[in-house]
């Protein structure tokens, strides 16, 4: 990516603002970190069985919570990258560029509303979550519930971003090699 300004071809969307790109990068970095802790947690559990000194009950819980982390922290990123699994049957029905823009706009509005509702749900969860601790490590669950809160808040922002760019054709990314950060 260069800083040289150039006129984009008419069917290519404009570049995302730096804020969005940085948000996506941070979320991705956190998700990769969770993947690392997930793998370490699982391997640790195996190791602990054979090396008593390394036996630590928290390993399994760390791995499970890492998976939860990946699930929620990637919500916004995946919406921004068109990486959520989507049914594309309507593409075969609505063919014109105007019609497609309308479909994308309607879809983005609905997605925004659902993300907003989920953000509010996540907020209620955080508020209530400090009354309970995790079974093994005793971590107050409120901290863990911050993950969905961040994920769906970012998802809302990214969904609005999709609405703004509704007149550009952006294919669904199926494999990450095509997804650029």
């Amino acid at each position: 990516m260069t800083d040289t300004p150039h006129t984009p071809p008419p069917d290519a969307p404009p570049q995302a603002r730096p804020f969005f790109r940085w948000l996506a990068r941070i979320e991705l970095a956190i998700a990769v970190f969770f993947l690392f802790t997930l793998a370490v947690g699982v391997l640790w559990q195996v190791l602990g069985r054979y090396v008593p000194a390394a036996n630590w009950v928290g390993a399994g819980e760390i791995a499970r919570f890492s998976l939860i982390g990946i699930t929620f922290i990637t919500v916004g990123y995946l919406i921004g990258q068109h990486g959520q699994i989507t049914v594309a049957v309507i593409d075969g029905i609505v063919k014109g560029p105007r019609g497609r823009t309308v479909v994308r706009a309607v879809s983005a509005i609905l997605l925004t509303l659902i993300c907003l509702a989920l953000t509010w749900e996540a907020w209620s969860m955080v508020e209530d979550g400090f009354r309970r601790v995790s079974p093994v490590l005793g971590i107050p669950l409120g901290y863990l519930y911050l993950l969905p809160l961040i994920g769906f808040a970012s998802g809302t922002v990214m969904a609005i971003g999709r609405l703004v760019r509704a007149n550009y054709d952006e294919p669904d990314a199926l494999i990450a090699e095509e997804a650029e950060v």
Binding site: Q45, R49, V57, A59, D128, R131, R132, V133, S134, P135
Partner: protein
């Protein structure tokens, strides 16, 4: 929240959930009896039963009780997530036997239950007997020495792992869903569960011995959401409390009968070899566990543990 009830008392539907399957005595001889009897009282109470973790795993159902999304529940494991001290009631040999546990609940538990209620917005109605936890293993277990070096799967909560250490076993972490494979392939040498639990999860297919060392009187607590309590009239409340208490002894008989039947089948037809209660050095287990926990617990926890131990044999 024990008073409640002004202006309340219309028709009410209670959702009553558990992680137990329909095949366990706590369901067919507990939850179902409750539904039958409370509905027959004609107080406007209807009960919907949700066994099999249909309304979520233990910890999630506790959260649902707190928020009033669920009315009634039967479980043990998830309650420590809102009130860690409840774990002590599951310490190895803290109760001598079921009678001791029931006596403690009836005569000495008031302070504990009040404090539980203040912190959690849930009310403990009573405890039902789930079974005495026993070891199943590939090598016979008769005394603490036999446990040395054996990798036994315990649920991975701090209290259960401490039970393992108190008894002299090496706890091995295996997720609940993978216990069967782990036992079969020798990743774990044994596991601990009430006889009914060992049978219903088919662990007997992949183990050699069951040892009736009865290291833990497993009590599943019948709890009620305070939000629900507020919606009930005094009459309804009393009926619910009385019915749960009344079922307790019948339920225990069912559990004991089912346990005996399974054990008899094992004795007659295998595949497990039963190490009978009198073949187990119970005194050695108890004294080792008591010594361990007296060093392990501190402060309020120690006080609770010692008060329960002190009530033994009364």
């Amino acid at each position: 929240a024990d008073e409640g009830g002004d202006g309340a008392g219309g028709d009410i539907t209670l959702s009553f959930s558990s992680s137990q399957s329909e095949a366990t005595p706590n369901y067919y001889c507990g939850m179902e009896l409750f539904k039958e009897r409370i509905e027959a009282e004609d107080l406007g109470i209807t009960v919907d039963l949700f066994p099999n973790s249909q309304l979520g795993p233990d910890t999630e159902r506790v959260a649902s009780l707190q928020s009033g999304d669920l009315d009634m529940d039967l479980q043990e494991a998830g309650m420590a997530s809102v009130y860690p001290q409840i774990g002590i009631l599951g310490a190895a040999y803290v109760f001598d036997d079921v009678d001791h546990a029931f006596n403690w609940i009836d005569n000495d538990s008031e302070e504990f239950r009040t404090s539980f209620n203040e912190q959690t917005d849930m009310t403990i109605i009573d405890g039902w007997f789930y079974g005495n936890r026993t070891f199943s293993s590939n090598e016979p277990i008769r005394s603490p020495e036999d446990l040395q070096g054996q990798q036994i799967r315990f649920p991975d909560t701090p209290q259960y792992l401490e039970n393992a250490r108190a008894l002299g076993a090496t706890p091995v972490a295996v997720a609940y869903e993978e216990i069967y494979v782990a036992l079969q392939q020798g990743i774990a040498d044994g596991q601990e569960n009430p006889v009914v639990g060992t049978k219903s999860a088919s662990y007997d297919e992949v183990q050699e011995y069951v040892s009736l060392n009865n290291h833990q009187v497993s009590i599943h607590w019948v709890t009620l959401s305070d939000a629900t309590l507020e919606k009930m009239s005094k009459e309804q409340k009393d009926a619910v409390f009385e019915t749960v208490k009344e079922i307790r002894s019948e339920n225990r008989e069912c559990v004991e009968q089912e346990t005996d039947e399974i054990l008899q089948d094992w004795r007659d037809n295998g595949p497990l070899t039963v190490i009978e209660e009198d073949e187990v050095d119970r005194e050695a287990f108890i004294s080792q566990a008591e010594e361990h926990f007296k060093n392990y617990y501190t402060g309020d926890d120690l006080a609770l543990y010692e008060s329960i131990r002190a009530s033994a044999g009364q």
